[in-house]
C-alpha cells in the first residue's frame, strides 16, 4: 500500500484539525455567543484574570456546557478509534471493530439492566443512583469481554479465531437478553433505552467526565508503546513470536485496553457506532499500516471526527438535538461502502 501523506505532514494536519474541532466545539452552539465573549470566557476558564462584566452567560455556557462536552467528545472519539486499531491489529482484519470482543453488547446489556431494572434498585442512596447506568454499562462491557477472552483460551494459548466466534455468540446472547428487557420495559424506559443506544454527548458533567478522562489517557499513553509489537503481529502470530514478541501478553493487553477504554466511553456517552471501525481505516488509507503512525494519528482523527459529528448533532435541529450515533453512522456507513467498492474495482 502506498502512503498518500508523510507521517509528519499527517500529524501536523491532524493536530490542526483537532485544534479547529476543539475551537468550533467551544465556539458554536444553539446559543450564539459573540466571538469576543467566547474568547474572553475561554481565557478566564484558563485562569487569566479578566473582568467578568457581562460575561456570566458566556462563562456558564462555555464552562458548564460546552467545555465538558468537548472534553467528553475528545476522550470518547480518541479512545474508540484507538480501540478500533487495537482490535483490527489483534484480529489482523480491517473489518474488526471493538464490538467484536463483546464490549459493546455487554455494555448495552448492563445499560438495559440498569434502565429497566432501575426501579428495582430504587432503594439505592441518591448519590449513587445517577451513576448506576454508567456503572452497569461499564461492568457489563468488562464482564462480557472477560468471558469472551476466557472462552478463547485453551492450554495457555489464546486462539483469536475462537475468540472471534465466542464474541459473536456472546453478542447474540447479550442482544437477546437486551431484547427481553426491551419487551419488559414500559413505554418511557423503552425510549430511554433507544436513545442510549444511539449515544449522545448531551448533558456532560465533570463528575462523570473524570473517570473517562483518566481511563482514556491511560489507554492512549499505553497502546502506542505496543506499536512495534502490533506491526510484527501483522506478519502472523508465529512470525511475531519468532521476532521475540510476547504474543500472548500482547493479546491480553489489547483486549484489556479495549474493554477498559470502550467500556468507559460507552458508560459516559452511550453507544456511538462506526468511529472505531472507520477512523483506523481512514488513517490507514492516508498513511499506511504502520502502527507507530496509525495509533497516535487515530486518536487525533477519532477525537476530531466525533467533535465534528457532535457539532452536527447539536446544530442540525437546534434547539432540539440529534443523537450523535445517528450522525456518525450517517457519515460512517457511506464511507465504509465507498471503501468496499473501491477495493473491488
Amino acid at each position: 500500500m502506498t502512503t498518500l501523506v508523510k507521517p509528519r505532514t499527517l500529524f501536523i494536519g491532524l493536530s490542526l484539525l483537532c485544534v479547529l474541532a476543539i475551537w468550533l466545539s467551544l465556539a458554536l452552539g444553539p446559543v450564539s455567543l459573540p466571538l469576543m465573549d467566547t474568547l474572553r470566557a475561554a481565557l478566564r476558564l484558563m485562569g487569566v484574570p479578566i473582568e467578568t462584566q457581562g460575561l456570566e452567560q458566556a462563562e456558564l455556557i462555555l464552562g458548564q456546557i460546552r467545555l465538558p462536552r468537548t472534553l467528553l467528545g475528545l476522550a470518547v472519539g480518541g479512545v474508540l478509534a484507538l480501540s478500533g486499531v487495537a482490535m483490527q491489529g489483534l484480529f489482523r482484519n480491517p473489518l474488526a471493530d471493538p464490538g467484536l470482543v463483546g464490549v459493546s453488547s455487554g455494555a448495552a446489556l448492563g445499560a438495559a439492566i440498569a434502565i429497566v431494572g432501575g426501579s428495582f434498585f430504587g432503594g439505592l442512596p441518591d448519590a449513587f443512583g445517577p451513576y448506576l447506568l454508567s456503572l452497569c454499562a461499564f461492568l457489563g462491557g468488562l464482564g462480557v469481554t472477560a468471558l469472551v477472552y476466557r472462552l478463547g483460551r485453551r492450554n495457555g494459548q489464546t486462539n483469536v479465531a475462537t475468540m472471534l466466534l465466542a464474541g459473536i455468540a456472546l453478542t447474540a446472547l447479550a442482544s437477546s437478553a437486551v431484547g427481553l428487557f426491551t419487551y419488559l420495559a414500559d413505554d418511557a424506559t423503552l425510549r430511554t433505552l433507544t436513545f442510549w443506544n444511539l449515544g449522545s454527548l448531551n448533558g456532560a458533567s465533570y463528575s462523570r467526565l473524570w473517570p473517562l478522562l483518566l481511563v482514556s489517557a491511560g489507554v492512549a499513553l499505553w497502546l502506542p508503546r505496543r506499536a512495534k509489537a502490533l506491526n510484527a503481529l501483522l506478519l502472523g502470530e508465529s512470525e511475531a513470536s519468532h521476532l521475540g514478541i510476547d504474543v500472548e501478553g500482547l493479546k491480553r493487553e489489547l483486549v484489556f485496553c479495549t474493554a477498559l477504554g470502550v467500556g468507559a466511553a460507552v458508560a459516559a456517552a452511550g453507544m456511538i457506532g462506526f468511529v472505531g471501525l472507520v477512523v483506523p481505516h481512514l488513517v490507514r488509507l492516508l498513511a499506511g499500516p504502520d502502527h507507530r503512525v496509525l495509533l497516535p494519528a487515530s486518536v487525533l482523527a477519532g477525537a476530531s471526527l466525533l467533535l465534528f459529528a457532535d457539532l452536527v448533532a447539536r446544530l442540525a435541529l437546534a434547539p432540539a438535538e440529534l443523537p450523535i450515533g445517528i450522525v456518525t453512522a450517517f457519515i460512517g456507513a457511506p464511507f465504509f461502502l465507498y471503501l468496499l467498492l473501491r477495493g473491488r474495482a
Partner: protein, 292 residues
Amino acid sequence: MRLSASAIALVVGLLVNAGAQASELPQRWVSAGGALSEWVTALGGESKLVGVDTTSQHPESLKALPSIGYQRQLSAEGILSLSPQILVGTEEMGPPPVLAQIRNAGVKVELFSAEPDLPVLQGNLQHLGKLLGSEAKAAELFSDYQQQLDQQKNWVTKAQSAQKAPGVLLLLGHAGGKPLIAGKDTAADWMLQQAGGHNLATHKGYKPFSVESLAGLNPEVLVFADRALTGDAARAALFKENPILASTPAAKNGRVYELDPTLLVGGLGPRLPQSLVKLSAGFYPSQAKTAP
C-alpha cells in the same frame, strides 16, 4: 461603551416600571409535555410560550414554535438559546444532568406529575395558574373539568344499568402495523374505564399481541389510536395489516372507534372529557342519544 451603559439603564428602567407583579412572573416559557402545553394555552399563556417539545401537538398553532426535541432527551444549550425564564414539564422530562445545567443557568425548572388522577390535575392547574398569573381561570377550568368527568361517570353508571359493559381492546399502532395492546396501568386503560368499557387485556403496560390471541379475546369494541394515520385511512390500514381482526364481533358489528394517540401521553389534558363522551357513546350505542 457609554451607549451600552445607557441601554442597560433604559432596560432596567423599563423593567422596574413594568410593575412588581408582572416582572415576578416568568414571561418566556418552554413547555415539555403535550397535556401541559395544552393547559398553558387554555390558561391564556400561549403567547408566552417560546418553545415546546415534540409531544406538544395541540393546539395546532404550537407546531409553529421552535421544537426542543423529545422530552426525555432535551439539550441544555438548545433550550437556553431560547432564553426562557421557566421550563415546565412532567416528571418524564430529562435527562437529569441537563435539567441541572438549565437550573444552574438561572432558569426555573418546574416538574408536574403526569398521573391520570383528578387531585393531581387540580394541583397542577393551581400551580400553573399561579405561575401564569391566572389563578381564577385555573380554578374555573378545573371545576368545569371535574363537572364534565362527574357527568360522564353518572352517565356511564346509568348506561350500564341498561347494557352490560362491553369488552374492549385498545390498539396503539403505526399505520396499522403490529399494534400494541394497552393493558393495566396505562393512561389508555384509565380512559377505557372512564368511558365505561371493560378492558379485555390484563397485562401491564403496552405489549404486542399475536393476532390470534387478539381475535380469541372476542372484543365487542375495538378502539384504535394510530400515530401515523387518522380516520378511515387508519381504519383501513388496521384491517389490511391485521386481517384477522375482521372476524371479531367488533368489526362485524362495525364497532371500531378512533382515539387520538396524543391523549395517551403526558397526563390528563383538556381535550380528554370530549373524547370520553365520544368513546362512551360508541360503547353504549343504545344510550347514545342521551350522551353527556
